[in-house]
Symmetry: C2
Subunit: 176 residues, 2 copies
């Protein structure tokens, strides 16, 4: 696994050991989870074997805008604030992430720099899935791999709809 600044920050968080211990907890969140809503407990358990679970204290920066990043994060507990620099380089709060939701999918997939920063607003428990692990799942657990990819497509599609609608609202507003 490539040693990036982001990896180094992740390594400083408290690792919570065997991730399969959290499978039931993650499964309990699926009502709130666009990513895992169609997953059963067995699938979550298999998937969790490929993840790492960490505790992040308040203020911990899990993802930094502009950094190279190769993992996505599923929030088990706590609250994450998403900031993006505006044109004056001031951080603008653009989203809040609640338990059950995930973030960081874009860079995990496309390898481009992180679009925004994700900071723990309080003590958080997170499960991390790296690009390498996703590739292994696709090879070793084909059906589960396809299911994760389907859900990722779904999530991104819904975010794209939402963002496109907002953009068109702004464009309409400018026209008036």
């Amino acid at each position: 696994m490539a040693e990036t600044a982001e990896r180094a920050r992740l390594a400083q968080l408290e690792s919570l050991g065997d991730p399969t211990r959290f499978a039931k907890r993650i499964h309990g969140l699926i009502t709130f989870s666009p990513l895992f809503e169609t997953f059963n407990l067995t699938e979550i358990r298999v998937l969790s074997e490929f993840m790492q679970v960490y505790r992040a204290g308040p203020g911990a920066e899990i993802i930094r805008e502009g950094d190279a990043g190769d993992f996505m994060v599923f929030l088990i507990e706590g609250r994450i604030e998403v900031f993006k620099q505006d044109r004056w380089n001031a951080p603008r709060l653009i989203a809040l992430i609640a338990p059950g939701q995930s973030f960081g999918e874009m860079s995990m997939i496309d390898g481009e720099p992180r679009f925004a920063s994700c900071i723990a607003a309080e003590s958080c428990m997170i499960a991390v899935l790296s690009r390498d692990s996703l590739a292994r799942i696709i090879l070793e657990q084909t059906t589960l791999g396809a299911k994760i990819l389907m859900e990722l497509v779904l999530i991104l599609s819904q975010r794209l709809r939402l963002t496109s609608s907002k953009l068109l609202d702004y464009m309409d507003r400018e026209k008036t």
Copy 2:
């Protein structure tokens, strides 16, 4: 396959028969194709067995905003204009699609109504992939299925980055 208004319109287009005949042509477009850029000719050939190829005359509406839709389209030849109604219900041209590019992925995946209308600006040749066919590929051609899903995630991720950046530009502008 569910008979939707969109399917009925598609059925009125001129079908060009055996889709594998177009595999080489599609493969020739991969330099321009975010979807197929990593596909070799054999993969395109297998994939094309699951597609239908049509000729659409100038003005043909391939996708209509608000309609139920369950397929995506790969443009082989011609030019497609993408329109979305603004708040005054006037069509606004929001994108142009060139050969090698694809459209309609969002509804194929998430089953939500079409976000915009896609109209042939000139005589077009299109290859159509339905949700059912994609599901069959995932089951019958697992590796190819995973590859398509990966590419879909990639495309959506890149579109989401672009759209989010534009949205933030507008939000910044409004702040000034």
